[in-house]
């Protein structure tokens, strides 16, 4: 690993720091590509995992994203934000893959939201948390694509509104509005299960 490159522990890599790495990748430097992958693979994994709720699918997607990035690295414009570009590619691949495998996942799913046990004050905390996770997970899957992406980016990837806006190529106001709609829809979908949580 080259010490001049940013390290995976860097939570935010400045655009200036990433440009030399990209240039090296373009000239065929394997280490540079490994560095780039190490820097961002976990971020892509969290996004993919929040979509698929499955480690194997998420890992496949991480691989697909970085292969795609490698193929398209020549077309990346250096004045653009690399992370936004990467997450845009990741988001698009997540949605594509999610749509392709939707049927299979629905069949594999044990319960529909309305079939999951309702909230119960007497339930032990652990069971309640697990039920809530299942309810939330399935409710999120019922959101429209953009609402779902924004909700997951906000609350699972911990991305800010501006960052999401950059990745999705929309205004911050639209991000806020779609986020609000996502929460309202989730509240409606989950309302039978929320009774004891408050």
């Amino acid at each position: 690993m080259n010490a001049e490159y940013p390290q995976p522990t860097d939570s935010r890599v400045s655009p200036d720091a990433i440009v030399p790495v990209i240039r090296r990748i373009r000239s065929g430097d394997r280490d540079a590509f490994v560095t780039l992958t190490r820097l961002y693979q976990q971020k892509v994994f969290v996004l993919a995992y929040s979509f698929f709720r499955n480690k194997e699918d998420a890992l496949d997607l991480v691989q697909d994203v970085f292969l795609r990035i490698f193929e398209k690295i020549d077309s990346f414009q250096e004045d653009r934000n690399f992370e936004a570009w990467l997450l845009q590619v990741a988001k698009n691949l997540c949605i594509d893959r999610y749509r392709k495998t939707r049927g299979r996942r629905e069949m594999e799913s044990d319960n529909r939201v309305d079939e999951l046990p309702l909230a119960d004050n007497r339930s032990p905390d652990a069971g309640r948390s697990s039920d809530l996770k299942a309810v939330l997970s399935q409710s999120v899957n019922r959101l429209a694509d953009r609402q779902k992406t924004i909700f997951l980016m906000r609350h699972v990837n911990q991305m800010g509104n501006e960052e999401i806006a950059r990745v999705l190529n929309i205004s911050t106001g639209t991000v806020k509005s779609l986020h609000f709609k996502a929460i309202r829809r989730l509240r409606t979908l989950m309302s039978p299960h929320l009774g004891c949580q408050t």
Partner: protein, 268 residues
């Protein structure tokens, strides 16, 4: 109620962080006295808090992954792909050139337009017939106007023949004792009158070109219709039979048909 609606729109904003302490205090005061809004706030809080569970789940899954090995594996898969490309080193296009190339369709369109426009202008300006003469009204050659007039006259004649033929057929095919009713009915009288008017208008055109051959038969039809229109009182069976014989003797229907075909086939 309006306050609730207004404040609920700020609900999501509240979770993003209130813009001012005044807004936050206003919300707090409202929540303290409105059970409905408080319920919504609490539910929203649970939804957002439960999203943390998903994040935690992802973190657990991440802990089981060997990230270094993953990045090496991805690089092992990616690098041979690039090496497999025959060109070896990708052709690097400088960014300004890329920008220009991204405008290729627009440039191509503009260039195409210029070429077509330029060529058209060349031919227009080269042609001797474009000397700018003030155009007053519609100008057309005398020959063109004559041909147009003849075409219209031919159409009128054919229409006249066709309508006359229909009326005569109705008359000829009816038994003589009922022919009077057919010929003196309201519809037949109107049709006869219309045909006589039409013939008067046609007379001016029946002297020239290929229409001239229709003059004779059109005149005969006109005379017949004039005679019929002048019959006062009810048409007797004998009278009707006489007129029917006249039509047959003169082969009027057959001649009309032949003339129609001839006119239709002839060029003006």
């Amino acid at each position: 109620m309006n306050a609730c609606r207004r404040l609920r729109n700020e609900l999501a904003a509240g979770f993003e962080g209130f813009p001012s302490s005044e807004d936050r205090n206003r919300w707090k005061e409202h929540l303290a006295m409105c059970a409905d809004c408080r319920k919504q706030w609490d539910e929203t809080e649970v939804v957002i808090r439960s999203a943390g569970v998903l994040q935690e789940d992802a973190r657990k899954a991440m802990a089981e992954i060997d990230w270094d090995a993953l990045s090496e594996r991805i690089a092992d898969t990616a690098l041979p792909r690039r090496k497999a490309v025959p060109a070896g080193i990708p052709v690097r296009i400088p960014r300004p050139a890329k920008r220009i190339l991204s405008w290729r369709p627009v440039f191509a369109g503009a260039l195409g337009g210029l070429l077509i426009g330029g060529t058209a202008m060349y031919f227009v300006l080269r042609s001797p017939g474009v000397a700018p003469a003030p155009v007053q009204g519609v100008q057309a050659s005398g020959e063109f106007i004559a041909r147009a007039e003849m075409t219209l006259a031919k159409r009128e004649t054919l229409d006249y023949l066709s309508k006359s033929q229909a009326l005569l057929l109705d008359f000829v095919q009816t038994p003589p004792d009922q022919a009077g009713q057919v010929l003196q009915g309201e519809s037949a009288v109107r049709r006869t009158r219309d045909l006589l008017s039409k013939k008067r208008l046609m007379n001016a055109h029946l002297d020239g070109g290929s229409i001239a051959k229709a003059r004779d038969i059109c005149d005969q039809i006109e005379r017949l219709f004039v005679e019929l229109s002048q019959i006062s009182g009810e048409l007797s069976a004998e009278e009707a039979a006489r007129i029917q014989r006249f039509v047959e003797d003169k082969n009027l229907l057959l001649r009309i048909k032949l003339l129609q075909r001839e006119l239709a086939e002839s060029e003006v």
